[in-house]
Symmetry: C2
Subunit: 410 residues, 2 copies
């Protein structure tokens, strides 16, 4: 059903290099829509709705908005808050108080679930709304969509970093272990193998959380590769664990979604290899850079991110609701994609891991199918590289006056 | 004294983004010299000399050499080997066997010391040689020279990374601690403040190894900054320690120069701040990326590195010896420099720390003089950004036949 009224958009979960491209795609499409009267930007995701902290996106300078398109990290601020029932009721109150008929949420599978729950609530209330989820996750683990905006740039950063540190390891003739984000899905880590030009070059060994490897087999593989090439570069997902062992890397701390914080697997493997091979081994963790290091942005990723934002608005205004926008790959070379949509229930709370058929038999690398899948998503963009220290704009943030009493979260 | 014969060059210590620019500057100058008959490249620094592992640099394809100019990390391979007396004697034997009259070594203060010791040996032997050190260190801690090739690019990477992760921290409204290389000198860490545009932006607090800070003062500063801006970004040198404490970060392991391996201060500070402020805090370590992440290369740094390589050849061929090439700054805007030289004894084994006058009174940042010093060295270069995954060439490595019996190191 097509609705007339205001719209609101929020950004959720870990930011990415291209999450603002989705936001700007949405803003620019909303400006052209006949249905959306005012377009609000919720600050810090769902918090912005709960506490009526939102800005008027139509009053932001158009040229500045265009610059935000290429600005890494969430320009509206983000949050990992998991809304409870009272939060969702409050959201509905806020929507009604501000005549909000459209809700857009840019995020991963946890965020799509939040979206779907609000959608359900709207359906049983007497307040008609169209709600569309916009996919975003560097982890690339949303189901149904070909890939997730955010992944291509994170993959390009990781693959580039592997090539760079590999030259350092080669120069010394030693071992390097590089730890890459990925709790349960090894998409980014696997994609680093796209950078391997020939057998003798890095990354020599690639370990995803999807595989279970015996420590002895791991050390034998390290020996074999190091003895052949005189240096060794290992890419490993933060969620990787040996067979019959708990992840050696799980911290006691948890994030706001209740997930254990990871980190440490590269150091653990590096120590093991150094002891076994008797060769100096170093390790690096790409850490938060994977979400924000815009020098490594992918052009395809930026284009996809913009398109899903734009599509969300157009489909919602045309009457779609309770769906998430997806990417469909139409051709690999040149890379061509189209946007489609899928029901939120089909994606919410689900995780797409790397298929077993895309992992090699030795469990220490990926197949050519994976390379062919990931390579087109990892093309860079020259224009992103300001000659100075990179500075990016911020929204002017014209705040909207609240209409409800202060929210006290239970 | 001008000499006729062969020349050899090696790369030593930690690689940098621009160390190959120095090598290529030397190769291209050597091609034009009347004195140098064959120009050898020693593989893995001093090891290449000891074990007669060297390549003919004049037989490398000229176009490939030009590409190596922009290739990060040491194209000849590097080493941290500290030569003992027997090693130095062997070097002299090798030089005589191969009619080597010129020795060039690209490295930091430890490497310049090795250079000087060989220089002394040549002086007391009946084998005339001209020996010139080529400065290289991302740490920027060589004395006399205005700055060290390698620093500008490492500083640009670190300052860029701080800006990027700061946007991530701002989006969440939390704390980020970023750990930057620098054992005893905080040049790179200090240079991250060049990226701070206004008081409310990152990095809010900057801690160098040169300062001693009380933990209570540190936490008070964190409180003050976080309360004001709603997020907090701290840049810290890996060698930073609190007053009256040992570095909390020193590992039991040592490198080949006998230096303790560092790492861990960011995590320690991050945990402290999280406990004190009750806000989620993250940390990142830039690690080896600081030596190789060519996306962040500085054009001035590349130019300087090329010039010191070229100058080393020209000065040695003109009869200079036992000196290191230095950079003299002639103007800041536009940045103009000239090469000079200084005796190896004036630089070998010495360290230039950040002067106290360039650190602010609060001991948590740098002064405008430091910013003015570092800013011109940190200008980027667009052309370095291949649209694909970055791949760089390697030398073809035409090996030279050995002339001596195998070397067995004592």
């Amino acid at each position: 059903m097509s609705l007339q009224g205001n719209a609101i958009i929020g950004q959720s979960g870990g930011p990415s290099i291209v999450i603002n491209a989705s936001l700007v795609g949405a803003i620019e499409a909303a400006r052209d829509s006949a249905e959306i009267e005012t377009f609000y930007g919720a600050l810090h995701g769902i918090n912005g709705i709960l506490y009526e902290q939102f800005i008027d996106l139509f009053r932001e300078d158009h040229e500045l908005v265009e610059q935000i398109r290429y600005t890494p990290s969430a320009a509206l601020g983000t949050s990992r808050l998991k809304p409870n029932d009272a939060d969702l009721d409050r959201c509905m109150e806020v929507f009604q108080a501000h005549n909000i008929r459209y809700f857009f949420y840019i995020g991963g599978d946890d965020s799509q679930l939040a979206c779907h729950r609000i959608s359900q609530l709207a359906k049983v209330s007497d307040w008609d709304m169209n709600i569309v989820g916009i996919p975003k996750t560097i982890d690339n683990d949303l189901v149904i969509t070909d890939n997730c905006p955010g992944f291509g740039s994170a993959a390009r950063l990781a693959a580039s970093a592997v090539q760079f540190v590999a030259r350092d390891a080669e120069a010394f003739g030693n071992v390097e272990v590089i730890e890459i984000m990925g709790r349960g899905a090894g998409w980014i880590t696997g994609a680093t193998q796209v950078g391997r030009q020939e057998e003798q070059y890095a990354p020599h060994l690639v370990y995803l959380p999807e595989v279970t490897v015996d420590p002895d087999k791991f050390l034998a593989d390290c020996h074999e590769q190091f003895d052949q090439w005189g240096y060794l570069v290992i890419a490993v997902s933060e969620g990787f664990a040996f067979a019959e062992s708990d992840t050696p890397t799980t911290s006691a701390k948890v994030d706001e979604f209740g997930h254990a914080r990871l980190g440490g697997v590269a150091q653990a493997l590096s120590d093991m290899v150094e002891d076994e091979l008797g060769v100096r081994s170093r390790f690096d963790r790409l850490g938060n850079l994977q979400r924000c290091f815009a020098f490594a942005a992918s052009q395809v990723d930026l284009d996809e991110a913009y398109a899903v934002g734009q599509n969300a608005i157009n489909r919602a205004c045309a009457g779609e609701s309770d769906v998430m926008i997806t990417i469909q790959r139409k051709s690999n070379e040149p890379f061509v994609f189209e946007c489609e949509d899928t029901s939120l229930t089909s994606v919410a709370g689900k995780t797409k891991v790397v298929p077993a058929a895309w992992i090699n038999e030795e469990q220490n690398g990926i197949t050519e199918e994976f390379v062919a899948y990931a390579r087109p998503l990892m093309q860079g963009r020259h224009e992103l590289l300001a000659p100075g220290i990179p500075h990016y704009p911020r929204f002017q943030k014209q705040m909207i006056a609240g209409k409800l009493s202060e929210y006290v979260r239970q």
